[in-house]
Structures are given as C-alpha cells and as structure tokens.
Assembly symmetry: C4
Homo-oligomer: 279 residues x 4
Amino acid sequence: MNTKDHRSSVPYANPPWREKLKTQLDSNSMNHFVIGIIAINLVILGIQATPAGKDEGVSGLLDIANGICIGIFVIELILKGLARGSEMFKRGWDIFDIVVVAIALLASSGPASALRGLRALHLFRVISALPSLRRVVRAFLRALPGVGAIGLLMIFFLYISAVMATGFFGLIHPELFGHLGNSIYSLFQIMTLDDWSNEIVGPVMKTHPWALAFFMSFIIFGAFTILNLFIGIIVSAMQELDILDRQNSSEKKEALEVVERLERDLADLRRRLNESPGK
Amino acid sequence: MNTKDHRSSVPYANPPWREKLKTQLDSNSMNHFVIGIIAINLVILGIQATPAGKDEGVSGLLDIANGICIGIFVIELILKGLARGSEMFKRGWDIFDIVVVAIALLASSGPASALRGLRALHLFRVISALPSLRRVVRAFLRALPGVGAIGLLMIFFLYISAVMATGFFGLIHPELFGHLGNSIYSLFQIMTLDDWSNEIVGPVMKTHPWALAFFMSFIIFGAFTILNLFIGIIVSAMQELDILDRQNSSEKKEALEVVERLERDLADLRRRLNESPGK
Amino acid sequence: MNTKDHRSSVPYANPPWREKLKTQLDSNSMNHFVIGIIAINLVILGIQATPAGKDEGVSGLLDIANGICIGIFVIELILKGLARGSEMFKRGWDIFDIVVVAIALLASSGPASALRGLRALHLFRVISALPSLRRVVRAFLRALPGVGAIGLLMIFFLYISAVMATGFFGLIHPELFGHLGNSIYSLFQIMTLDDWSNEIVGPVMKTHPWALAFFMSFIIFGAFTILNLFIGIIVSAMQELDILDRQNSSEKKEALEVVERLERDLADLRRRLNESPGK
Amino acid sequence: MNTKDHRSSVPYANPPWREKLKTQLDSNSMNHFVIGIIAINLVILGIQATPAGKDEGVSGLLDIANGICIGIFVIELILKGLARGSEMFKRGWDIFDIVVVAIALLASSGPASALRGLRALHLFRVISALPSLRRVVRAFLRALPGVGAIGLLMIFFLYISAVMATGFFGLIHPELFGHLGNSIYSLFQIMTLDDWSNEIVGPVMKTHPWALAFFMSFIIFGAFTILNLFIGIIVSAMQELDILDRQNSSEKKEALEVVERLERDLADLRRRLNESPGK
C-alpha cells in the first residue's frame, strides 16, 4: 500500500497528463460507458445470429455497428496503455481484455469464414467489466490450487486408461478406440455417462466380454473423480465467496463477544489487583 | 412491529367489520377450508387428466366442480381484498394467489384449446396455503441473491457461446446451430449432458474436427457452472432451513455453557477480590 | 431403562422358559447363525438366476435348499413371537422381517410365475441382520422429516405440471402426454435428464414451439428440486452417521482442553484467594 | 520414531553398503530421475497409440524405448529390494509398484494380443512417484471405511434387485434380464440414468405395466444411494485433504490466540497474586 502511494506521487515517473488520464479511465462514468458499449455489442451480435440478422442489408449495418464497438474498445485499451505503460501487463484482467479484443479484431479483419465465431470472443469482456462477475471468476481461480492434485490425477487416469483401451480394443473397434484421440473422446463420453451402454460398452462387450470389468471400474472411479474435482472447486470457491460462512461468522461473532466480555472482566480484575497491593 | 400494532388499532382506518373479516379470513378454520378446497381441486383436475375423465359426461361434471372451486377462490380473494385493501398488494403470497387464479380464470373462460393447460395453474396455490411449503420456497428465494453473480455468469456464458457457435457451425449445421435460438437449445442440451456425443458433437466434429476443443471446454466449464449454481443455492437454502446447523448449534451450546461457567467463576472471583481489600 | 429392567424381572409376566428363549434368540451365536443362513440363501438364489441354475435338476435342488432356508426363518420368527409376544409388533425391524418373509413365502407357494421375483424379497433381511446396515437405514429414515417439505413440494410440482402438460400437449402427443400416468412418466424422465431432447421435448416443440419455455423451466426447477432433496437427505444422514463431524469434534476437543486448563487455572486462583485472606 | 532410529543405527542388521544404497534410492535426485523416466514412458506409449505410431518402423523403435524404461524400473525395484529386504513388502506403495511393473512385464513378453493393453499398466507408477497424487489417493483410501456400510448396502441392493428382476422379467426379456449378469448390467445402467427409459424400462413396461413401480423405486433409491456413497467419500476425503477446513482453521487460530492471551493474563494475574500475599 505504501509503495503504491509512493509510486503514484513521484512526478518524473508519471507526468500530470498521465495521472489525469488514469483517473479518468478508472472513473465510475468511464466504467459505466464501457459496460454500456458491451451491452450494445451483446445485442448487436445476438441480432446478427437470429434469422432476421441474416438479411444482407441488416447484416451489413450490424457489421458496421460491431466495428464501431470494437473500435471504441481498441481506443480505450490504447489510452489505458498510454496511462499505465508496462504496468498494464502485470494486471491479469488488462491482459485478458487485450487478448480477447485482439483475437476478435483479427477474426473480423480476416476473410476466413471458419474464424467468424471468434469475432464474438471480445464479448467476454463483460466479465472483466462487471465487478460481481470478476469476483466469481477470481474465487474459482483461487480454488484451483487446492484441487490441483485431484485434477492432475484425473488427467493421468484418463490418459493412461486411453492408452490401455487403445491396446485392448483398438484393432477390433477402430471407430471407438482406434487411436489415442479416439480413445480419450470415448472415455470422456463414458465419464459424462452419456449413452455409454448403447454406443460404447455394448458393442465392445460383444467381442470382449471381459471388457465389462474394465469399463465398470472406469465408470465408478472416473465419475467419482470428476464429481470430486467439481465439488472440491465449488466448495472452495463458495468459501472464498463467503456463501458458506455467513452462519459461521455470526456464531464466531457471538463467541468473540463473550470472550471480549471475559477479557474486560479480567482486565478489570487485574486493575483492582494492581490497585489493592498499593493500599 | 410497533408500527403494525399501531396501524391495526386505529379505528378510522379499519372499521369494525373490516377487522372482523380480517380475523375470520386469517383464522385456522378458514385456512383449513381453503386447503380442503385445493385438495379437492387437485383430485378433480387429476381425474380429468386420466382416460376415465375423457368421457364427455364425466368431464362436464368435473368442469362444473372445477368451476365451483375457482369460484370459491375468487370469492375468498375478493373478501381478502375488502378486508386488507391496498395492503394486499404488498404481500408477496397474496399477489401470487391473485395472479395464478386470474390466469386460471382466463384460461377456463376462453375457448382456446392451447391454453387448456393453464387452467391448472391455480393449483400452485397449494404452495401459498401450506406453511411448510411456503417456508421452503422462501428459503430458496432468500438464497438467490447469494448466488446471483454465478447465475449471471452462466447466462452470459451460454449467450456468448451460442453467438460464437452460430458463427462457427451455423452455415454447415443449420438444424443444430442455424440461429441464436437453435444454438442456445443445443448448448443447453450439452450442458445437461443429454446425448451430446451422438446428436450434437459427433456430427459437428465430422466437418469441424477442431470443434472438440470448443465443446470439451464448454462441457467442463458449463456443467461445472450449472452444478455450482445449484449447489450454491441448495447449501444456502439448507442453512436457511436449519438443516445443516442442528449438530453445530448443540456443540456451540455446550461451548457457551462452559464459557458461562467461566464467567460466573470470574464474577465470583471479582466479588471475593472486592471483599478482600475491605478487610 | 428402569421400566424395562422392572418388566423383565417380573416372574408372572415372563415365565422362565420365555426368558431363556429370549436370551438365546438375542445371543451372538444365534445372530451369526441367521446371518450365515442369509448368506447361503443369497448364494442359492444368485446361482438359480445364472444360466447354470436354469438346468431343471439343479433348479429343483436349489428350490429345496431355498425352501429349507425360508423354513428356518419362519421357525425363527415363530420362536421370536413366542418369546416376545405382542411386544414384537412394536419393533420396526421385527415387523420388517415378518412382512418380507411372509411375502416370500406366499410368492414361493403360489403358482403365479409373475410373482416369481418376489421369492427373493426376504433376502432384504440381510439389512435387519447386519447392525452396520441397520444403522445406515436408520440414519436415512431419521433424515427424512428434515427434508419432508422439499419432497412434498417436488411431488406437488410433478403432479400439477403433469396435469398442465396433459392439457397442453395431450391431444396432439397422446403417446407422451395422453393422460396423467403418461405425463408423470414423461416428466419424470425429463427430471432425470435421460434423452429428454430427442424423445420428448424435440417432438413436442415441432407442434408447440412455445413448449420450450415450459420444459426449460421444468428442467431447471425440477432437476434443482430433486438434487436438493437428495443432498438434503444425504447431508442430514451423514451428520447422523457422524461422517461430517469427526473433524469438528477433534477441534472441539482441543478447544475444550484449553478451556479446561483455563478452568483449572481459575480454580487454582480461587483456592489461593480463599487462602490468602485467611493469613 | 525411537525404534526406527535404533534399528537403522545397528550395524549387524544393515551393512554400510545397504544403508548407503537406501539413502541414495530415497534421495531427491533419484526420485526426480524416476519421475523423468515415467514422463518419457507416458509420451512413448502415447505416441505408439496415435496413427503415426502404428507405422512398423516407428512402432519397433518405441517398443525398444519402452523396454528400456521397464528395464530401468525393474533394476530400481531390485535395488530397492536389496536395500530394504523383507521390509519392502510392508509398504503399500512398494507393493503397488512391484505389482504393476510385474503385470506390464508379463504382458510385454507374452505374445497374446489381448493383453497388449496391460503393457501400459505400469504407467500408474506416476501416482506412487508424485507425492501430491499419493496424498490424494491416501485421502480417498482413508475415507473408505467411513462410508463402507453405505457401499455394502448398495452392493446388496443391486444384487437382490437383480435376482428379483431376473425372476420377474427374465423369461420375456432374456436380452435385458435373462440371467444374473445381464440383470446387474441393466440395473447398473439404470442407476447411471443412461437411456433407461428407451432401452430398458420402456420395453419391459409394454409386457409388464406394473414394472414401473419396481423401476421407479429402484431409480429413486439407487441413484440416491450411489450419490450418497460418492458424496460421503468426497466430503471425507476433502476433510482429510484439509480443503474444507482452511477457512475454519484460520478462525480457530484467531479464537485460540484470544484464549492464549486470556491464559497469559490469568498466569500474570496468578503471579501477581502469588507475590501480593508475600508483601
């Protein structure tokens, strides 16, 4: 805290115009303006994706409107860059903004129709613009390290199982377990419990009846690990967001009040004791 | 509490007949009568939906019985309106009652067969009539603000992903991702993990092999957010309903008893100390 | 406790043979014998369900062995009845034993092949015979009242939604929503998220595009309520089984140790104070 | 702790070379070397499972590389055996290492193509090599006893239900419930809610309409028990891994600090009291 105050008050590092620009960019009205532009942009790209938006004239107009929105974002980011300099690349959300806007810009300018979908990527700026969403994402990210080992275990489990399944069933069921990619896809489908019996385990069991043992242990352990991973992240994130602790903290407060009363009593007691020998 | 007592005891605001009507409408026997009528109505509309109820004669009789039930509800609400006046529109459950009964009345009187199903909407009055159900719904509603940001994140995530998917796959798979509505439906289906591989991801991957990366991250993040949202609401609601805290509170009570004993000991100690110098 | 001691020591109520029989039936060796018979019976009926057990000779032998097992259970229950008299019908697990054995006996003696499956019902006696399983079931049953209101809400929600869906879609999709039974089945399938899009919501949406709003709110609210109900019961049952509280209780123990040390210090202090004025 | 120190310092039990070998095998650099070999092996078998790895020349080279890796593991285990002697068979992870390497060795040397998949089994050594994964697995294993009874209940429930279903539906639906194995598979599929309506319950209900009661109670109780089992293990494991307790422990720390301050105050008080009478 001290260093920050110091840095921002040193005149030769930050000329007055830079300070002023910084203050204006961080102001509430600027933030509301950006949120407003994102909201308009969300609507524009939404309309363009409806049947009405397919009309050539309408689509052209919406393209221009979208271009103006992206233009505003680019200008805002350039101004931020001028105001903050290299500092900007140390703030996660600023990097996020630069990356999504840059990708959207590239996808818009290029002719490749395959990348058309990426034009909407910069709409995710809505997360960095709204403080409440930023808080949720931050809580998720902080919860990740705590469950990192479970995630790693799941990735190794999926990978090794896929190598084994390719070896077991690859020759006879090439469409399901022909190579590593195929196998990972099939096993991921089994993990989500989507149509596993009819599409995957059923056909394989016709040629390899013992496959049931492999798949049943995979389902039990896999569904179990994935559920574990999710619940672990969720519970950690909810603690971070204080959803779980409201009740506890009120209890803690009560207990602390009692303890404080006790402390006051003790202090009073000590005061009297200090006084009494002086008599 | 004070204001309420005051308001209800002022004679010129509430004439005696109004007070009496209010007391009678809020009485236990009135409540039991309404619950009884709802129970009968639940059975009537249930029978009408069975094959036996399709018989023209039976159906006509049941229609009349249903009409009588709705009539009673209308009279009850009018009496409540007379007794409470404009106050009525400040109580959530009263507004709920008025809305569902009004919709059911409109659907019953109109000839439109499409709206026939709405005739049963007023059966949801069973929630406002039974205190235990009212308590559960209230707990859910109170839990909503705590997880509002997660819900908002999920809606933005679904919307922006749908815009992107329309751009990516819309031209080649119009039946799945042709326009915004289609895309939201398809992505919602993937979120619930229902037949995602066979119906949606499989066909798309045949033309866009790289789609796997898009869908896999969508499944992991989407299923994760929706689960998070649900568990967040549930845990909050259960805390509200005291399901989670029974055990803890008994432990807390024990701990507080010990602390109280300590406090008594300290007070006793201080009393003795107060006495001792006086000697 | 006192009454029990009293009752069992009164000679005219319980003649000596009755007391002796009771002691023997409740003995550990008797319990192990019953568990052994259940284990044998589990294996017998399991073998009879395998292809090897379909052989006529083998099946006949297994039928006889099964009959002997049931015979032993009947004798055990009769002896219990003699020892305990009418008291027996006050103990939940005894009633459970009587009901499942009686149904299995009826299903075995009758010729009806449709009821053949009920012959295995008495195997559920394994739950009442093993104390650890009895404990789990008891914990579940105790958790039920706490979530009863949520269960009631779900039943009303499913029933009223089925009545409404029959009214909305019954005429045009009689195979899905033709009558109340059909509709409840279809909506239950949607609640479990099993193939809801392809089998139910897809066909209905072709004739009633607005049905999406009905089904989406049903899925969100329905899946949500069912998950809530389950998690509520589970968390309550786990608290009952002390799975959740191991950690907490160890922390509580530590805190209590500190408090005890404090109390000892205070008592010591008071003792010295009591002594000091005497000097 | 004391015994261990003693044992390792007794010269006649462990000759110096043995001690030295032990120290070197347990060293960090040795551990990093083994993790490196496992990482290389993960990549080798992964490449072999891709289409590029099917090429005969490449596959031969990868086979040799894999053989070298397994050779290194065998040498490492032999050295460990020399260093630790019979002690080795008391450590769970060492036994795990020996078993998976032995199975992989057998599968590699044998000609049977069916066992080809088992060649990758020793890759699971990654779990015993990485401390963080070892910790997660240990937490799961410790959580098992707490939920053992629920698991047992589920196994009995599935088995007895399968015996009953074979009796009920076996003759008319031999492909679904023809014998015990079939029935367990079908009921397990219903438990995972995978396509239960279309593939299993639908066809059976056409011939046995009353089957709905059997299957609906199976789904509710089955899905419920399996969820319970999983959540029970997960919550216990997360407590073991301290994911749930971070927040609480910081609060506990605060409370303990207050209590410690109180204790110091009391000790100080007692010291003064001890001094005061001496005056």
